[in-house]
Amino acid sequence: MAAIIETSGLTRSYGDICALKPLDLCVPEGEWLTVMGHSGSGKSTLLNLLGGLDRPSGGSIHVRGTDLATLSEDGLARFRRDCVGIIFQQHHLIPYLTALENVMMSQYFHSVPDEAEARHALERVGLGHRLKNRPGELSGGEQQRVCIARAIINSPRLLLGDEPTGNLDHKSTTMVMELLRELRDEERFSIVMVTHNQEVAAWGDRTIHMDDGCLVREERTKSC
Protein backbone atom coordinates (compact mmCIF):
# COMPACT_ATOMS: atom_id res chain seq x y z
CA MET A 1 0.00 0.00 0.00
CA ALA A 2 1.23 3.50 -0.86
CA ALA A 3 2.49 5.64 2.01
CA ILE A 4 0.63 8.83 2.82
CA ILE A 5 3.40 10.04 5.12
CA GLU A 6 7.08 9.39 4.73
CA THR A 7 9.70 11.13 6.84
CA SER A 8 13.39 10.55 6.89
CA GLY A 9 15.77 12.04 9.41
CA LEU A 10 13.05 14.51 10.37
CA THR A 11 14.16 16.87 13.15
CA ARG A 12 12.88 19.98 14.81
CA SER A 13 14.83 21.96 17.35
CA TYR A 14 14.15 25.17 19.19
CA GLY A 15 17.55 26.73 19.74
CA ASP A 16 19.42 24.19 21.89
CA ILE A 17 16.32 22.16 22.64
CA CYS A 18 15.91 19.26 20.27
CA ALA A 19 12.17 18.63 20.36
CA LEU A 20 12.30 15.96 17.67
CA LYS A 21 15.38 13.79 17.08
CA PRO A 22 15.94 12.32 13.60
CA LEU A 23 12.80 10.35 12.87
CA ASP A 24 12.03 7.91 10.07
CA LEU A 25 8.34 7.29 9.89
CA CYS A 26 6.13 5.72 7.29
CA VAL A 27 2.36 5.77 7.48
CA PRO A 28 0.52 3.72 4.84
CA GLU A 29 -2.57 5.18 3.20
CA GLY A 30 -5.63 4.54 5.34
CA GLU A 31 -3.74 3.68 8.54
CA TRP A 32 -4.81 4.91 11.96
CA LEU A 33 -1.61 5.71 13.85
CA THR A 34 -1.56 6.56 17.51
CA VAL A 35 1.30 8.55 19.06
CA MET A 36 1.88 8.17 22.78
CA GLY A 37 4.46 9.54 25.15
CA HIS A 38 5.13 11.72 28.17
CA SER A 39 4.42 15.37 28.16
CA GLY A 40 7.22 17.20 26.35
CA SER A 41 8.29 14.15 24.38
CA GLY A 42 7.71 15.88 21.03
CA LYS A 43 4.32 14.53 20.02
CA SER A 44 2.76 17.90 19.19
CA THR A 45 5.94 18.93 17.44
CA LEU A 46 5.64 15.89 15.17
CA LEU A 47 1.97 16.48 14.53
CA ASN A 48 2.50 20.15 13.63
CA LEU A 49 5.19 19.13 11.15
CA LEU A 50 2.89 16.54 9.56
CA GLY A 51 0.10 19.11 9.29
CA GLY A 52 2.29 21.69 7.58
CA LEU A 53 1.85 24.10 10.49
CA ASP A 54 5.54 24.08 11.26
CA ARG A 55 8.72 23.60 9.27
CA PRO A 56 11.36 20.97 10.07
CA SER A 57 14.88 21.94 11.12
CA GLY A 58 16.28 19.02 9.15
CA GLY A 59 15.38 15.90 7.25
CA SER A 60 12.56 15.51 4.81
CA ILE A 61 8.83 15.05 5.11
CA HIS A 62 6.63 13.86 2.27
CA VAL A 63 2.86 13.82 2.53
CA ARG A 64 1.10 12.22 -0.43
CA GLY A 65 4.30 12.63 -2.37
CA THR A 66 4.65 16.36 -1.71
CA ASP A 67 7.87 17.52 -0.07
CA LEU A 68 6.56 19.94 2.52
CA ALA A 69 9.98 21.58 2.90
CA THR A 70 9.76 22.91 -0.65
CA LEU A 71 6.40 24.62 -0.15
CA SER A 72 6.14 28.35 0.34
CA GLU A 73 4.14 29.87 3.17
CA ASP A 74 1.08 30.07 0.92
CA GLY A 75 1.83 26.63 -0.49
CA LEU A 76 1.68 25.23 3.04
CA ALA A 77 -1.64 27.00 3.63
CA ARG A 78 -2.96 25.41 0.44
CA PHE A 79 -1.64 22.01 1.57
CA ARG A 80 -3.40 22.40 4.93
CA ARG A 81 -6.75 23.28 3.45
CA ASP A 82 -6.65 20.65 0.69
CA CYS A 83 -5.11 17.65 2.43
CA VAL A 84 -5.37 17.98 6.19
CA GLY A 85 -8.04 18.14 8.84
CA ILE A 86 -6.93 18.97 12.38
CA ILE A 87 -8.62 18.39 15.73
CA PHE A 88 -7.14 19.95 18.85
CA GLN A 89 -7.47 19.22 22.54
CA GLN A 90 -8.82 22.69 23.20
CA HIS A 91 -11.60 22.84 20.72
CA HIS A 92 -10.58 26.13 19.16
CA LEU A 93 -13.93 26.99 17.73
CA ILE A 94 -14.60 30.59 16.79
CA PRO A 95 -16.70 31.82 19.70
CA TYR A 96 -18.95 34.26 17.86
CA LEU A 97 -19.97 31.85 15.12
CA THR A 98 -22.58 29.11 15.39
CA ALA A 99 -21.70 25.44 14.99
CA LEU A 100 -22.86 25.60 11.39
CA GLU A 101 -20.88 28.75 10.68
CA ASN A 102 -17.73 27.27 12.22
CA VAL A 103 -17.94 24.42 9.74
CA MET A 104 -18.66 26.81 6.89
CA MET A 105 -15.55 28.83 7.79
CA SER A 106 -13.45 25.84 6.79
CA GLN A 107 -15.33 25.63 3.49
CA TYR A 108 -14.70 29.34 2.95
CA PHE A 109 -10.93 28.87 3.07
CA HIS A 110 -11.12 25.74 0.95
CA SER A 111 -13.61 26.80 -1.72
CA VAL A 112 -17.04 28.33 -1.10
CA PRO A 113 -19.31 28.09 1.95
CA ASP A 114 -22.10 25.59 1.27
CA GLU A 115 -24.71 25.55 3.99
CA ALA A 116 -26.43 22.31 2.95
CA GLU A 117 -23.15 20.41 2.92
CA ALA A 118 -22.10 21.87 6.27
CA ARG A 119 -25.44 20.92 7.77
CA HIS A 120 -25.05 17.40 6.46
CA ALA A 121 -21.60 17.13 8.05
CA LEU A 122 -23.00 18.19 11.41
CA GLU A 123 -25.84 15.70 11.04
CA ARG A 124 -23.29 12.97 10.46
CA VAL A 125 -21.62 13.77 13.78
CA GLY A 126 -25.04 13.75 15.46
CA LEU A 127 -25.44 17.50 15.89
CA GLY A 128 -28.29 18.11 13.47
CA HIS A 129 -30.22 19.70 16.34
CA ARG A 130 -27.46 22.10 17.49
CA LEU A 131 -26.70 23.87 14.21
CA LYS A 132 -27.50 27.37 15.45
CA ASN A 133 -25.78 27.10 18.82
CA ARG A 134 -22.58 28.93 19.63
CA PRO A 135 -19.63 26.95 21.06
CA GLY A 136 -20.33 28.39 24.52
CA GLU A 137 -23.73 26.72 24.49
CA LEU A 138 -22.36 23.25 23.65
CA SER A 139 -20.85 20.58 25.91
CA GLY A 140 -17.20 19.59 25.54
CA GLY A 141 -18.11 16.44 23.62
CA GLU A 142 -20.43 18.37 21.31
CA GLN A 143 -17.77 20.99 20.66
CA GLN A 144 -15.29 18.26 19.76
CA ARG A 145 -17.81 16.78 17.35
CA VAL A 146 -18.22 20.19 15.70
CA CYS A 147 -14.43 20.20 15.31
CA ILE A 148 -14.59 16.78 13.68
CA ALA A 149 -17.30 17.96 11.29
CA ARG A 150 -15.14 20.97 10.48
CA ALA A 151 -12.04 18.82 10.00
CA ILE A 152 -13.69 16.42 7.54
CA ILE A 153 -15.86 18.91 5.64
CA ASN A 154 -13.33 19.32 2.82
CA SER A 155 -12.69 15.54 2.56
CA PRO A 156 -9.06 15.59 3.71
CA ARG A 157 -6.82 12.55 3.12
CA LEU A 158 -5.17 13.01 6.50
CA LEU A 159 -6.84 13.66 9.84
CA LEU A 160 -4.61 14.84 12.68
CA GLY A 161 -5.72 14.84 16.30
CA ASP A 162 -3.66 16.36 19.13
CA GLU A 163 -5.17 14.77 22.24
CA PRO A 164 -8.70 15.28 20.91
CA THR A 165 -10.23 13.41 23.84
CA GLY A 166 -7.96 14.94 26.46
CA ASN A 167 -10.73 17.10 27.88
CA LEU A 168 -13.56 14.62 27.52
CA ASP A 169 -15.15 12.19 29.98
CA HIS A 170 -15.33 8.47 29.32
CA LYS A 171 -18.71 8.52 27.62
CA SER A 172 -17.90 11.42 25.30
CA THR A 173 -14.55 9.89 24.49
CA THR A 174 -16.18 6.64 23.38
CA MET A 175 -18.70 8.55 21.33
CA VAL A 176 -16.00 10.58 19.59
CA MET A 177 -13.87 7.49 18.90
CA GLU A 178 -16.83 5.58 17.49
CA LEU A 179 -17.61 8.52 15.29
CA LEU A 180 -14.05 8.73 14.03
CA ARG A 181 -13.95 5.04 13.21
CA GLU A 182 -17.26 5.31 11.36
CA LEU A 183 -16.08 8.27 9.33
CA ARG A 184 -12.78 6.64 8.53
CA ASP A 185 -14.49 3.51 7.33
CA GLU A 186 -16.62 5.61 4.99
CA GLU A 187 -14.05 8.11 3.77
CA ARG A 188 -10.87 6.00 3.98
CA PHE A 189 -8.69 8.83 5.25
CA SER A 190 -5.60 8.25 7.39
CA ILE A 191 -5.46 9.28 11.02
CA VAL A 192 -2.52 10.29 13.19
CA MET A 193 -3.67 10.83 16.74
CA VAL A 194 -1.77 11.87 19.85
CA THR A 195 -3.15 10.56 23.11
CA HIS A 196 -2.24 9.69 26.70
CA ASN A 197 -5.13 7.32 27.01
CA GLN A 198 -4.41 3.60 26.58
CA GLU A 199 -8.06 2.96 25.75
CA VAL A 200 -8.03 5.54 22.98
CA ALA A 201 -4.86 4.04 21.58
CA ALA A 202 -6.68 0.74 21.28
CA TRP A 203 -8.91 2.21 18.55
CA GLY A 204 -5.95 2.63 16.21
CA ASP A 205 -4.06 0.17 14.00
CA ARG A 206 -0.60 0.92 15.30
CA THR A 207 0.91 2.84 18.19
CA ILE A 208 4.31 4.52 18.38
CA HIS A 209 5.77 5.61 21.71
CA MET A 210 7.95 8.66 21.96
CA ASP A 211 10.34 9.80 24.65
CA ASP A 212 12.51 12.89 24.63
CA GLY A 213 12.01 13.44 20.90
CA CYS A 214 12.81 9.83 19.96
CA LEU A 215 10.65 7.02 18.72
CA VAL A 216 11.30 4.37 21.37
CA ARG A 217 8.75 1.67 20.78
CA GLU A 218 6.20 0.58 18.22
CA GLU A 219 3.34 -1.89 18.51
CA ARG A 220 0.45 -3.20 16.45
CA THR A 221 -2.94 -3.05 18.05
CA LYS A 222 -4.34 -6.55 18.43
CA SER A 223 -7.70 -5.77 16.85
CA CYS A 224 -6.06 -5.37 13.47
Binding site: L53, E73, D74, A77, R78, R80, H92, Y96, F109, R150
Partner: protein
Protein backbone atom coordinates in the same frame (compact mmCIF):
# COMPACT_ATOMS: atom_id res chain seq x y z
CA UNK B 1 -23.37 31.66 -0.34
CA UNK B 2 -20.75 33.60 -2.26
CA UNK B 3 -17.35 34.16 -0.71
CA UNK B 4 -17.88 37.91 -0.60
CA UNK B 5 -21.19 37.65 1.23
CA UNK B 6 -19.66 35.19 3.66
CA UNK B 7 -16.79 37.58 4.32
CA UNK B 8 -19.22 40.42 5.02
CA UNK B 9 -21.22 38.10 7.26
CA UNK B 10 -18.36 36.95 9.47
CA UNK B 11 -16.85 40.44 9.65
CA UNK B 12 -20.20 41.73 10.82
CA UNK B 13 -20.44 38.89 13.37
CA UNK B 14 -16.98 39.66 14.71
CA UNK B 15 -17.77 43.36 15.05
CA UNK B 16 -21.04 42.64 16.86
CA UNK B 17 -19.28 40.13 19.11
CA UNK B 18 -16.94 42.88 20.32
CA UNK B 19 -19.56 45.56 20.24
CA UNK B 20 -17.95 47.60 23.03
CA UNK B 21 -14.71 47.93 21.14
CA UNK B 22 -16.52 48.36 17.83
CA UNK B 23 -18.52 51.26 19.26
CA UNK B 24 -15.38 52.83 20.67
CA UNK B 25 -13.65 52.63 17.29
CA UNK B 26 -16.72 53.94 15.52
CA UNK B 27 -16.94 56.83 17.97
CA UNK B 28 -13.29 57.80 17.55
CA UNK B 29 -13.46 57.58 13.77
CA UNK B 30 -16.80 59.37 13.60
CA UNK B 31 -15.57 62.22 15.78
CA UNK B 32 -12.37 62.64 13.83
CA UNK B 33 -14.07 62.62 10.45
CA UNK B 34 -16.89 64.86 11.68
CA UNK B 35 -14.32 67.38 12.89
CA UNK B 36 -12.57 67.36 9.53
CA UNK B 37 -15.92 67.72 7.77
CA UNK B 38 -17.14 70.49 10.07
CA UNK B 39 -13.97 72.53 9.75
CA UNK B 40 -14.02 72.04 5.99
CA UNK B 41 -17.63 73.15 5.75
CA UNK B 42 -17.07 76.13 8.06
CA UNK B 43 -14.04 77.12 6.04
CA UNK B 44 -15.94 76.95 2.76
CA UNK B 45 -18.81 78.96 4.17
CA UNK B 46 -16.37 81.52 5.63
CA UNK B 47 -14.72 81.83 2.25
CA UNK B 48 -18.08 82.45 0.59
CA UNK B 49 -18.90 85.00 3.24
CA UNK B 50 -15.63 86.86 2.80
CA UNK B 51 -16.05 86.76 -0.97
CA UNK B 52 -19.49 88.27 -0.58
CA UNK B 53 -18.16 91.04 1.64
CA UNK B 54 -15.26 91.72 -0.67
CA UNK B 55 -17.72 92.40 -3.46
CA UNK B 56 -19.01 95.42 -1.61
CA UNK B 57 -15.63 97.07 -1.91
CA UNK B 58 -15.58 96.87 -5.68
CA UNK B 59 -12.73 95.91 -7.95
CA UNK B 60 -9.65 94.32 -6.46
CA UNK B 61 -7.49 94.27 -9.59
CA UNK B 62 -6.77 96.95 -12.14
CA UNK B 63 -5.27 96.39 -15.58
CA UNK B 64 -3.49 99.27 -17.24
CA UNK B 65 -1.35 99.56 -20.34
CA UNK B 66 2.34 99.47 -19.41
CA UNK B 67 3.37 103.01 -20.44
CA UNK B 68 0.37 104.69 -18.86
CA UNK B 69 1.87 104.04 -15.46
CA UNK B 70 4.94 106.17 -15.78
CA UNK B 71 3.70 108.85 -13.49
CA UNK B 72 5.48 111.94 -12.28
CA UNK B 73 5.19 112.86 -8.67
CA UNK B 74 5.63 111.38 -5.26
CA UNK B 75 3.44 110.47 -2.34
CA UNK B 76 -0.10 111.58 -2.95
CA UNK B 77 0.91 114.25 -5.46
CA UNK B 78 0.48 113.42 -9.08
CA UNK B 79 1.54 115.67 -11.87
CA UNK B 80 0.25 113.47 -14.63
CA UNK B 81 1.83 110.86 -16.84
CA UNK B 82 4.79 111.34 -19.09
CA UNK B 83 4.42 110.58 -22.74
CA UNK B 84 1.52 109.52 -24.84
CA UNK B 85 -1.44 107.94 -23.16
CA UNK B 86 -1.54 104.22 -23.92
CA UNK B 87 -4.44 101.95 -24.60
CA UNK B 88 -5.43 98.32 -24.27
CA UNK B 89 -7.53 96.33 -26.69
CA UNK B 90 -10.76 95.04 -25.13
CA UNK B 91 -10.45 91.79 -27.07
CA UNK B 92 -6.99 91.16 -25.72
CA UNK B 93 -8.17 91.59 -22.13
CA UNK B 94 -11.18 89.36 -22.64
CA UNK B 95 -9.02 86.69 -24.21
CA UNK B 96 -6.51 86.92 -21.33
CA UNK B 97 -9.34 86.55 -18.81
CA UNK B 98 -10.66 83.49 -20.58
CA UNK B 99 -7.28 81.83 -20.94
CA UNK B 100 -5.99 82.57 -17.44
CA UNK B 101 -9.17 81.24 -15.84
CA UNK B 102 -9.45 84.33 -13.64
CA UNK B 103 -13.14 84.99 -13.13
CA UNK B 104 -15.16 87.91 -11.87
CA UNK B 105 -16.99 91.08 -12.83
CA UNK B 106 -15.05 93.69 -14.78
CA UNK B 107 -15.61 97.15 -16.22
CA UNK B 108 -13.88 98.89 -19.13
CA UNK B 109 -12.81 102.52 -18.82
CA UNK B 110 -11.60 104.88 -21.50
CA UNK B 111 -10.23 108.19 -20.21
CA UNK B 112 -10.53 111.26 -22.40
CA UNK B 113 -11.05 114.97 -22.41
CA UNK B 114 -13.90 117.04 -23.83
CA UNK B 115 -14.82 120.67 -23.85
CA UNK B 116 -17.83 121.99 -22.04
CA UNK B 117 -18.64 125.68 -22.15
CA UNK B 118 -15.15 126.32 -23.48
CA UNK B 119 -13.42 124.47 -20.61
CA UNK B 120 -11.62 121.15 -20.91
CA UNK B 121 -13.01 118.62 -18.51
CA UNK B 122 -12.08 114.97 -17.92
CA UNK B 123 -14.46 112.41 -19.24
CA UNK B 124 -14.64 108.66 -19.08
CA UNK B 125 -16.27 106.17 -21.40
CA UNK B 126 -17.82 103.24 -19.53
CA UNK B 127 -20.33 100.48 -19.99
CA UNK B 128 -22.94 101.59 -17.47
CA UNK B 129 -24.27 98.08 -16.88
CA UNK B 130 -20.75 96.91 -15.93
CA UNK B 131 -20.20 99.90 -13.65
CA UNK B 132 -23.48 99.38 -11.84
CA UNK B 133 -22.53 95.78 -11.10
CA UNK B 134 -19.00 96.56 -10.00
CA UNK B 135 -19.66 99.73 -8.03
CA UNK B 136 -22.94 99.23 -6.21
CA UNK B 137 -22.26 102.25 -4.03
CA UNK B 138 -22.66 104.77 -6.85
CA UNK B 139 -25.66 106.89 -6.07
CA UNK B 140 -27.35 108.34 -9.09
CA UNK B 141 -29.65 111.31 -8.70
CA UNK B 142 -31.86 111.10 -11.78
CA UNK B 143 -31.53 108.21 -14.25
CA UNK B 144 -28.72 106.03 -15.49
CA UNK B 145 -27.97 107.12 -19.07
CA UNK B 146 -29.57 105.62 -22.12
CA UNK B 147 -27.71 105.74 -25.45
CA UNK B 148 -26.87 109.32 -26.32
CA UNK B 149 -27.04 110.46 -22.72
CA UNK B 150 -24.29 111.19 -20.22
CA UNK B 151 -23.84 111.00 -16.46
CA UNK B 152 -22.17 113.80 -14.54
CA UNK B 153 -20.07 113.53 -11.42
CA UNK B 154 -21.56 115.49 -8.53
CA UNK B 155 -18.55 117.83 -8.04
CA UNK B 156 -18.28 118.52 -11.76
CA UNK B 157 -21.96 119.24 -12.24
CA UNK B 158 -21.97 121.56 -9.27
CA UNK B 159 -18.97 123.46 -10.56
CA UNK B 160 -20.46 124.00 -14.01
CA UNK B 161 -24.05 124.41 -12.90
CA UNK B 162 -25.26 121.35 -14.72
CA UNK B 163 -28.48 119.61 -13.67
CA UNK B 164 -30.07 116.34 -14.66
CA UNK B 165 -32.26 116.74 -17.65
CA UNK B 166 -30.18 119.58 -19.12
CA UNK B 167 -29.01 119.44 -22.72
CA UNK B 168 -25.42 120.51 -23.48
CA UNK B 169 -23.07 120.76 -26.38
CA UNK B 170 -19.93 118.77 -25.76
CA UNK B 171 -16.96 119.16 -27.98
CA UNK B 172 -14.57 116.28 -28.67
CA UNK B 173 -11.72 117.72 -30.63
CA UNK B 174 -13.44 119.32 -33.58
CA UNK B 175 -16.79 117.62 -33.36
CA UNK B 176 -19.62 118.88 -31.22
CA UNK B 177 -22.30 116.58 -29.88
CA UNK B 178 -25.46 117.55 -28.15
CA UNK B 179 -26.28 115.27 -25.24
CA UNK B 180 -28.67 115.18 -22.33
CA UNK B 181 -27.42 114.74 -18.78
CA UNK B 182 -29.59 111.93 -17.42
CA UNK B 183 -28.39 112.09 -13.84
CA UNK B 184 -25.76 113.08 -11.34
CA UNK B 185 -23.58 110.46 -9.68
CA UNK B 186 -22.11 110.62 -6.18
CA UNK B 187 -19.48 108.02 -5.42
CA UNK B 188 -17.35 109.81 -2.86
CA UNK B 189 -14.25 109.26 -5.00
CA UNK B 190 -12.41 110.67 -8.02
CA UNK B 191 -15.41 109.83 -10.19
CA UNK B 192 -17.33 112.80 -8.85
CA UNK B 193 -15.08 115.05 -10.94
CA UNK B 194 -15.70 113.34 -14.25
CA UNK B 195 -18.30 113.06 -16.92
CA UNK B 196 -19.41 109.60 -17.96
CA UNK B 197 -20.17 108.74 -21.51
CA UNK B 198 -21.20 105.50 -23.16
CA UNK B 199 -17.99 103.64 -23.95
CA UNK B 200 -18.62 102.98 -27.68
CA UNK B 201 -19.56 106.60 -28.22
CA UNK B 202 -16.37 107.94 -26.64
CA UNK B 203 -14.30 105.32 -28.47
CA UNK B 204 -15.78 106.54 -31.73
CA UNK B 205 -15.21 110.20 -30.90
CA UNK B 206 -11.60 109.55 -29.93
CA UNK B 207 -11.06 107.34 -32.93
CA UNK B 208 -10.15 104.37 -30.73
CA UNK B 209 -12.73 101.69 -31.38
CA UNK B 210 -12.37 98.63 -29.13
CA UNK B 211 -9.72 100.32 -26.99
CA UNK B 212 -9.73 101.25 -23.34
CA UNK B 213 -7.30 102.86 -20.94
CA UNK B 214 -8.12 100.84 -17.86
CA UNK B 215 -9.92 97.67 -16.87
CA UNK B 216 -11.16 97.16 -13.33
CA UNK B 217 -11.73 93.63 -12.22
CA UNK B 218 -13.32 92.05 -9.17
CA UNK B 219 -11.56 88.72 -9.17
CA UNK B 220 -13.44 86.08 -7.19
CA UNK B 221 -11.49 85.72 -3.91
CA UNK B 222 -12.78 82.16 -3.64
CA UNK B 223 -10.53 81.32 -6.57
CA UNK B 224 -7.34 81.63 -4.56
CA UNK B 225 -5.11 84.40 -3.21
CA UNK B 226 -5.40 87.67 -5.10
CA UNK B 227 -1.66 87.91 -5.63
CA UNK B 228 -1.63 84.61 -7.46
CA UNK B 229 -4.62 85.50 -9.58
CA UNK B 230 -2.98 88.80 -10.53
CA UNK B 231 0.25 87.04 -11.45
CA UNK B 232 -1.66 84.49 -13.48
CA UNK B 233 -3.51 87.16 -15.42
CA UNK B 234 -0.30 89.10 -15.91
CA UNK B 235 1.25 86.16 -17.76
CA UNK B 236 -1.40 86.48 -20.46
CA UNK B 237 -1.11 90.26 -20.72
CA UNK B 238 2.50 91.03 -21.58
CA UNK B 239 1.79 94.61 -22.71
CA UNK B 240 -0.10 95.56 -19.61
CA UNK B 241 0.36 95.70 -15.90
CA UNK B 242 -1.99 93.96 -13.51
CA UNK B 243 -2.01 95.56 -10.08
CA UNK B 244 -3.81 94.71 -6.89
CA UNK B 245 -5.98 97.44 -5.46
CA UNK B 246 -5.62 97.97 -1.76
CA UNK B 247 -8.93 97.30 -0.22
CA UNK B 248 -10.56 96.43 3.05
CA UNK B 249 -11.40 92.94 1.83
CA UNK B 250 -7.71 92.02 1.81
CA UNK B 251 -7.54 92.03 5.57
CA UNK B 252 -10.38 89.63 5.98
CA UNK B 253 -8.86 87.41 3.34
CA UNK B 254 -5.56 87.30 5.19
CA UNK B 255 -7.39 86.64 8.43
CA UNK B 256 -9.30 83.86 6.75
CA UNK B 257 -6.05 82.29 5.62
CA UNK B 258 -4.71 82.32 9.17
CA UNK B 259 -7.91 80.91 10.63
CA UNK B 260 -7.85 78.16 8.03
CA UNK B 261 -4.26 77.31 8.87
CA UNK B 262 -5.20 77.10 12.53
CA UNK B 263 -8.13 74.83 11.76
CA UNK B 264 -5.91 72.65 9.61
CA UNK B 265 -3.42 72.29 12.47
CA UNK B 266 -6.14 71.39 14.95
CA UNK B 267 -7.53 68.84 12.52
CA UNK B 268 -4.09 67.34 11.94
CA UNK B 269 -3.49 66.95 15.69
CA UNK B 270 -6.92 65.38 16.20
CA UNK B 271 -6.38 63.00 13.29
CA UNK B 272 -3.02 61.88 14.63
CA UNK B 273 -4.54 61.28 18.07
CA UNK B 274 -7.46 59.39 16.58
CA UNK B 275 -5.11 57.34 14.42
CA UNK B 276 -3.02 56.24 17.38
CA UNK B 277 -6.11 55.41 19.37
CA UNK B 278 -7.36 53.27 16.49
CA UNK B 279 -3.96 51.60 16.27
CA UNK B 280 -3.98 50.86 20.00
CA UNK B 281 -7.47 49.40 19.97
CA UNK B 282 -6.80 47.35 16.87
CA UNK B 283 -3.59 45.94 18.34
CA UNK B 284 -5.40 44.84 21.48
CA UNK B 285 -8.10 43.22 19.38
CA UNK B 286 -5.59 41.35 17.25
CA UNK B 287 -3.73 40.22 20.38
CA UNK B 288 -6.94 38.93 21.91
CA UNK B 289 -7.87 37.16 18.72
CA UNK B 290 -4.49 35.57 18.11
CA UNK B 291 -5.89 32.10 18.85
CA UNK B 292 -8.66 32.67 16.35
CA UNK B 293 -6.16 33.87 13.77
CA UNK B 294 -3.90 30.87 14.42
CA UNK B 295 -6.89 28.60 14.07
CA UNK B 296 -7.89 30.14 10.76
CA UNK B 297 -4.37 29.66 9.50
CA UNK B 298 -4.35 26.05 10.72
CA UNK B 299 -7.62 25.48 8.86
CA UNK B 300 -5.86 26.49 5.67
CA UNK B 301 -6.47 30.23 5.56
CA UNK B 302 -3.58 31.88 3.75
CA UNK B 303 -1.98 35.04 5.04
CA UNK B 304 -3.89 36.95 2.37
CA UNK B 305 -7.20 35.40 3.45
CA UNK B 306 -6.56 36.60 6.99
CA UNK B 307 -5.44 40.01 5.81
CA UNK B 308 -8.62 40.27 3.80
CA UNK B 309 -10.81 39.48 6.79
CA UNK B 310 -9.14 41.98 9.04
CA UNK B 311 -8.85 44.79 6.55
CA UNK B 312 -12.52 44.24 5.67
CA UNK B 313 -13.26 44.95 9.32
CA UNK B 314 -11.27 48.17 9.19
CA UNK B 315 -12.94 49.06 5.91
CA UNK B 316 -16.43 48.51 7.25
CA UNK B 317 -15.67 50.57 10.35
CA UNK B 318 -14.12 53.31 8.24
CA UNK B 319 -17.04 53.62 5.85
CA UNK B 320 -19.64 53.43 8.62
CA UNK B 321 -17.89 56.07 10.69
CA UNK B 322 -17.33 58.20 7.60
CA UNK B 323 -21.04 58.42 6.86
CA UNK B 324 -21.73 59.16 10.53
CA UNK B 325 -18.96 61.75 10.58
CA UNK B 326 -20.40 63.43 7.51
CA UNK B 327 -23.80 63.91 9.13
CA UNK B 328 -22.41 64.89 12.52
CA UNK B 329 -19.91 67.24 10.89
CA UNK B 330 -22.73 68.92 8.99
CA UNK B 331 -24.57 69.56 12.25
CA UNK B 332 -21.46 70.90 13.98
CA UNK B 333 -20.67 73.16 11.02
CA UNK B 334 -24.22 74.53 11.04
CA UNK B 335 -23.99 75.24 14.75
CA UNK B 336 -20.55 76.87 14.54
CA UNK B 337 -21.43 78.94 11.49
CA UNK B 338 -24.62 80.18 13.06
CA UNK B 339 -23.28 80.94 16.52
CA UNK B 340 -19.83 82.26 15.60
CA UNK B 341 -20.43 84.28 12.49
CA UNK B 342 -24.15 84.30 11.87
CA UNK B 343 -24.00 82.51 8.56
CA UNK B 344 -25.36 79.23 7.33
CA UNK B 345 -23.11 76.31 6.47
CA UNK B 346 -25.05 74.08 4.14
CA UNK B 347 -24.20 70.36 4.06
CA UNK B 348 -22.36 69.88 0.79
CA UNK B 349 -22.60 66.40 -0.71
CA UNK B 350 -19.00 66.54 -1.95
CA UNK B 351 -17.91 66.49 1.69
CA UNK B 352 -19.25 62.94 2.03
CA UNK B 353 -16.18 61.74 0.19
CA UNK B 354 -13.99 63.87 2.44
CA UNK B 355 -15.59 62.44 5.58
CA UNK B 356 -15.46 58.85 4.37
CA UNK B 357 -11.95 59.36 3.03
CA UNK B 358 -10.66 60.72 6.34
CA UNK B 359 -12.23 57.97 8.40
CA UNK B 360 -11.18 55.25 5.98
CA UNK B 361 -7.63 56.55 5.91
CA UNK B 362 -7.51 56.63 9.72
CA UNK B 363 -8.97 53.15 10.05
CA UNK B 364 -6.52 51.70 7.57
CA UNK B 365 -3.51 53.67 8.80
CA UNK B 366 -4.30 52.63 12.37
CA UNK B 367 -4.54 49.01 11.25
CA UNK B 368 -1.24 48.75 9.42
CA UNK B 369 0.71 47.56 12.46
CA UNK B 370 -1.95 45.13 13.72
CA UNK B 371 -2.48 43.80 10.20
CA UNK B 372 1.24 43.15 9.90
CA UNK B 373 1.13 41.06 13.06
CA UNK B 374 -1.88 39.17 11.69
CA UNK B 375 0.16 38.52 8.58
CA UNK B 376 3.16 37.25 10.53
CA UNK B 377 1.41 35.35 13.30
CA UNK B 378 2.67 31.78 13.71
CA UNK B 379 -0.26 29.36 14.09
CA UNK B 380 1.70 26.88 16.23
CA UNK B 381 2.69 29.54 18.76
CA UNK B 382 -0.79 31.01 19.02
CA UNK B 383 -2.49 27.63 19.39
CA UNK B 384 -0.10 26.30 22.06
CA UNK B 385 -1.77 25.31 25.35
CA UNK B 386 -3.96 27.61 27.40
Amino acid sequence: MTKRRWLAHIVFRALVHRRGRTLLLLAVLTLASSLATALGLVSVSMRARVAEETKRYGANLVIMPESARVEVGSGGLRFGAIGEPAYLAQDQVLAALARSGVKGDYSFHLKGVLTLKGVEIPCEGVDFAQVRRLSPWWQVDGDWPRPGEVLGGSDLTQRYHVHSGDLFDFTFGKETVRARVSGVVTSGGDEDDSLFVNLPELQQQMGRPGQVSEVRLLADPGNGPLKEQAACLQRFLPGASVKELRQVGRTSEELLGKVQLLMLLVTAVVLVCAGSSVAGTMSTTVLERSKEIGLMKAMGGSRWDLLKIFSAEALLLGVGAGVGGFLLGGLIAKFVARSVFAADAALRPEFLSVAVGVSLLLALAGSVGPLLSVFRLDPVQSLRGE
